[in-house]
């Protein structure tokens, strides 16, 4: 639904985005990852039409991005705030009217959301009387109220306590189930693994990695397994696998094996099965966090 094609954005002395392209599929949650200053915010600002690229194009549902798409995008920036002196209800109403909703419809939806997120009595409160977490909830409501097709969240969980973070996460999943597409910019890799279908990793103004989370993780597999077993049997390297590590956990033994080329886990198991009682076999898959660090560090050291 969103294609970003060869975007270049140059600021006075530094190039924020260098030939970045990516595709966001409809109904997916897309993770936009990268260290600070990589160019994530610059890219988001181009998608939300806050700034324009120096070259390259963005297509929204096949159409060149234009002002009429503003009402179809909801954006929760990392640097977010509200008018301090304005009442909450009035404020959300104002923001959603700016997105093109009419008063009556907006009021109805605000009531629905306020009810849903347990903020019913907040309507006439002022922002300065709310805690930071409460403000974040208000901002989240303001972002999704006009039922945008594409919702862009920049670090949505910062400032939330675990309970509220969970509430918001569930809302995101529910909106996603109902058809909303998300772009999700964050450093917190655990939420990426939980939520994202696809990711793109941007570092130093360039996209250095993209794909589905599963694919990417798969490509970082190293044919390494943890096997936990019961039984007194020494496991040594042979022509099927190398033993990388052995540990004892209570009565059980834990070994880390790396399969040799063209060997399968089944072969390893059949070798072991006659001798020991297998409790568990896990493939060692790098976390997104590992991949992130490896990619970014590797790149930065070049």
């Amino acid at each position: 639904m969103l294609s970003v094609k060869n975007i270049v954005k140059q600021y006075a002395t530094h190039r924020a985005l260098d030939d970045v392209s990516l595709e966001v599929e409809k109904g997916k949650i897309f993770g936009l990852l990268g260290p600070n200053g990589a160019g994530k915010t610059s890219l988001i600002r181009i998608i939300t039409q806050i700034t324009a690229p120096d070259s390259g194009e963005v297509f929204f549902n096949g159409e060149r991005l234009n002002t009429k798409h503003i009402s179809q995008i909801g954006y929760l920036p990392e640097e977010r705030g509200l008018y301090k002196k304005m009442e909450i209800g009035e404020q959300v109403l104002y923001l959603s009217k700016l997105k093109g909703l009419d008063s009556a419809e907006a009021t109805k939806r605000i009531r629905y959301w306020f009810e849903k997120l347990e903020m019913k009595d907040w309507w006439s409160k002022k922002v300065e009387d709310l805690s930071k977490g409460m403000q974040q909830k208000v901002q989240f409501v303001a972002t999704v109220l006009h039922q945008p097709e594409l919702i862009i969240l920049d670090e949505p969980f910062s400032g939330f306590d675990p309970v509220n973070a969970d509430i918001i996460k569930n809302e995101i999943l529910e909106l996603n189930k109902n058809g909303a597409t998300f772009i999700f910019s964050t450093h917190r890799m655990e939420s990426v693994e939980e939520l994202c279908d696809n990711i793109a990793l941007i570092n130093k103004s360039q996209k250095i990695l993209d794909g589905t989370v599963d694919e990417i993780k798969a490509s970082y597999r190293s044919n390494t397994y943890w096997i936990e077993y019961e039984g007194d049997y020494p496991v040594d390297s042979n022509d099927i696998y190398d033993v990388l590590q052995t540990e004892n956990v209570k009565a059980n033994t834990l070994v880390k094996l790396q399969l040799k080329e063209n060997r399968t886990a089944n072969e390893a198991l059949s070798l072991l099965l006659p001798h020991v009682n297998i409790h568990r076999l896990d493939e060692v898959i790098p976390t997104m966090n590992d991949i992130f660090i490896e990619k970014v560090k590797g790149k930065n050291h070049e």
Partner: protein, 445 residues
């Protein structure tokens, strides 16, 4: 367009609903009326209550005419020498001793006025005026003019100033009222542009520091947000201005009809005219006119085209406000907090202050001179200079030209400010310089 309306609405109502706005709007006319009432009261009381008793020690044989007592001053000729008189000044029933030494009528010298307190300016003028009058009378009498002829010489002259308009029609005008209107309009214009310009700047800074700006400009264009704010605040200014006019008129009319006696007003006006004439200082005269009771002003107002003055004021308020508030918006966008605004405020404030100072001095003295002309053409100063000039009458072509230049001027500042604003609002944490602002201005898109 619809979005700009929404922004204007919010900017307008969020300000008009504030307590401080309501308090300011209703209190200011009361304060103005109150200040006038106090000044009026004391001027009136001061003139009515002035009563000095002056003892005269006359050592002059040639001066045979005597100073005449009236209700503000009492002259008593005493039969003591100066030393005795000085000794008894504390106990006796006179406050001052006027010493008239021996002198010829052509060169009166050595006249002294003693008192337990320093004699005021007005007493000094009064006494010296009386003595001059006395000497003149005596000289005239000595040259053979009789008292009855002398009395006939005293004629009161009252000049009414009339201006011949371009159409050839004569218009009643009043120099005092014009000056009063010019001063008031100039001061108000300066205040309004400053007050509301700074409100625009504060508004922009607020959006920046509260970090709502990025949410906003993902829905609206920066230019829409800036113009919405500027226009919304302009409407607040107009609302306040209209309310002030209505309330001030209502309150002062009520006050005048309740408390001021018609005869007193005339008396005070006459007394003031006299004091202006003797001091001979135009600014004092203007100040005196300003301080005069409202009834006096209302009387003089009839000679002026009030409707035109108000229209011109509103036009130049809007124009001047737009011109400056755009600059203020640009400043607001370039900084992170109000404390950082100083270095940028100076260059914006200077022309406004200069226009203000020159308008109230040079322009009121010579409203048709070349300084007045140029000040009322340059858009940095024209809003103030033009409203100061307008009560004296300005040729229509000058007015039109100045208006056109101002419109072009504010379109220019709005354009420049818009280009700085769109970049500035997204910049955080950097100390901005003029060089940087210029760079923002030149950014594409």
């Amino acid at each position: 367009m619809n979005k700009i309306l929404l922004i204007i609405q919010r900017e307008y109502f969020s300000r008009v609903k504030k307590k401080s706005f309501i308090v300011m709007t209703f209190l200011t006319p009361l304060l103005i009326a109150g200040v006038y009432a106090i000044i009026g009261y004391f001027t009136y009381k001061g003139i009515k209550d002035t009563h000095d008793s002056v003892a005269i020690v006359n050592n002059n044989k040639t001066l045979t005419e005597k100073l005449q007592t009236d209700k503000n001053i009492e002259y008593t000729y005493i039969d003591k020498n100066l030393e005795e008189a000085k000794k008894s000044i504390g106990k006796a029933d006179y406050d001052y001793i006027l010493y008239l030494p021996e002198f010829t009528l052509d060169a009166p010298k050595g006249i002294e006025l003693f008192g337990t307190k320093q004699a005021g300016m007005s007493l000094n003028k009064r006494v010296s005026g009386d003595i001059e009058e006395l000497i003149r009378t005596q000289k005239l009498k000595e040259s053979g003019i009789s008292q009855s002829d002398l009395d006939k010489l005293k004629t009161e002259v009252d000049i009414s100033t009339k201006k011949i308009a371009e159409t050839g029609a004569e218009e009643e005008s009043s120099a005092g009222a014009s000056t009063f209107i010019a001063f008031t309009a100039g001061v108000l214009m300066f205040m309004f542009i400053m007050m509301y310009g700074i409100q625009v700047m504060r508004g922009v800074i607020e959006e920046k520091t509260s970090r709502i700006i990025e949410v906003m400009i993902s829905s609206v264009k920066p230019f829409q947000l800036m113009m919405g704010k500027i226009v919304g605040i302009a409407l607040v200014g107009l609302t306040q201005f209209m309310l002030w006019i209505v309330l001030t008129l209502a309150i002062s009319t009520a006050a005048v009809s309740l408390f001021v006696n018609k005869d007193d007003v005339k008396e005070i006006a006459a007394a003031q005219a006299q004091s202006q004439a003797t001091t001979g200082n135009p600014t004092m005269a203007a100040a005196a006119t300003q301080a005069g009771p409202i009834g006096d002003i209302q009387k003089s107002l009839t000679g002026l085209d009030v409707g035109k003055i108000v229209m011109v004021f509103i036009f130049f308020f809007l124009g001047g406000y737009l011109f400056y508030s755009a600059l203020y918006a640009a400043i607001g966008s370039a900084v992170d907090s109000e404390t950082e605004t100083q270095q940028f405020m100076m260059p914006v404030m200077l022309p406004l202050l200069l226009g203000y100072a020159l308008s109230l001095s040079v322009v009121t003295n010579d409203p048709y001179g070349s300084t007045a002309f140029w000040l009322s053409m340059i858009p940095f100063t024209s809003p103030i200079a033009m409203v100061v000039r307008i009560p004296y009458g300005v040729p229509n072509w000058e007015l039109a030209l100045s208006m056109i230049i101002l419109v072009v001027g504010f379109l220019g500042t709005v354009w420049v400010a818009g280009r700085i604003y769109r970049v500035g609002i997204l910049m955080y944490g950097k100390k901005t310089t003029f060089k940087e602002m210029f760079k923002w201005f030149t950014y594409k898109n």
